[in-house]
Symmetry: C2
Amino acid sequence: MSTDPRLFIDAPLSAGAAIPLAREDAHYLINVMRRGEGDAVRVFNGRDGEWTAQIAHASRKGAGLTVGEQTRPQQSVPDLWLLFAPIRRTKTELIIEKATELGVAVMAPVVTERTQSDRIKVERLQAIIKEAAEQTERLDRPELRDSEKLGALLDNWPEDRALIFCDESGDETDAAWGGARGRGQPMASALASVGDRPAAILIGPEGGFSPAERDRLRRLDCVIPVTLGPRILRAETAAIAALTIWQSTCGDWQ
Amino acid sequence: MSTDPRLFIDAPLSAGAAIPLAREDAHYLINVMRRGEGDAVRVFNGRDGEWTAQIAHASRKGAGLTVGEQTRPQQSVPDLWLLFAPIRRTKTELIIEKATELGVAVMAPVVTERTQSDRIKVERLQAIIKEAAEQTERLDRPELRDSEKLGALLDNWPEDRALIFCDESGDETDAAWGGARGRGQPMASALASVGDRPAAILIGPEGGFSPAERDRLRRLDCVIPVTLGPRILRAETAAIAALTIWQSTCGDWQ
């Protein structure tokens, strides 16, 4: 595999195209990676596959590339969403970075009753997504949606999409729910019923979901309650583990 | 589940035992968690299960607990090791924390040819392990072994332990190896041959393993080369994903 620097570029890619570089990309190539005129890079834009390119010019005024040839045709990640209650800034950033590496298609912050923080710094998260997509050899960036309240999200839920409900903390409503829809099944076996339906993984805040939220979730036909082992996982660990199991069972790691 | 603070204590636990608290534990209980005399906590020591306890006294001179009754008998995590090439400090700390949450039994830094950093701050890593074990509701702490060179580790490898070799980067030696022992199988299906043998997961440094290391690893009967999907994962992401798949397939998440 080529070790040439890899850049997401927001412009059409075709043989011979001249691409001016954004200031941050020029800084990364010239100052961080120490590349100069004539050096090779790889570029992708989420639509046209991956291409070779060459640094055509680089100066204090800016830098630009000339596109060479296509090295890979465009390919999508599986149709998997990650819905997560925003937590502390560094943890939210970790979720965003790792979900991008693990090949998620869509991410959306979800505001639940016990969500501690709903401040999302979109610009910073987009920079993390871009860098992770570049490093992980994806051919696209995942979409980061605006945050939404859990209730509104469920009101408009697309019925054909399985909602994998990672229910880490048991609580007082458990007694009312027995059997498979109660505490949740181990995720890997629960996914057997999902097949290749589109899916979304829902991860709660550190304090878990409220009894009312858990009750509503478990009444929905599209919801599959799952557990992630006998220990208690932090929210960001649960997100990474759930994405891994889905990719490994239903996704493109098979 | 109780939300009383949970502490790992390095002392025998039995009903009525008086336990003096280490300075950091006293600080955590009194100043961080705002608890005082008479308040309930939970304690475990990796040998005697989990017990309730009460803060018997708390002052500037120190604090102590009185042990109440056992709430859970001692239980071990599955016999899984994680061998990882140390990387940047924050990434190594992330691996240690997440591996503790994901129920690993033993962790050991392994120095490979391309390992960039072999400085391990043992005291800081032990503090991270203790806190993660307390939060994740484990009944033990994973063992953190001294770092060792990959060659010496393989010289003394226990033959009955499967060595799951996470081989992220293809390189020039690939052509010499075809079929199942070549590029590696998807991890979940490769684990079918492991069954309930003891196992270790081996994660390389950011630059991957050298051709000589990869060649030696693939010649060993205990080695199972695996892949973690079509994207390139950072070392810490590969560690978390591999632990998750093992627990979900062979471990205690089933």
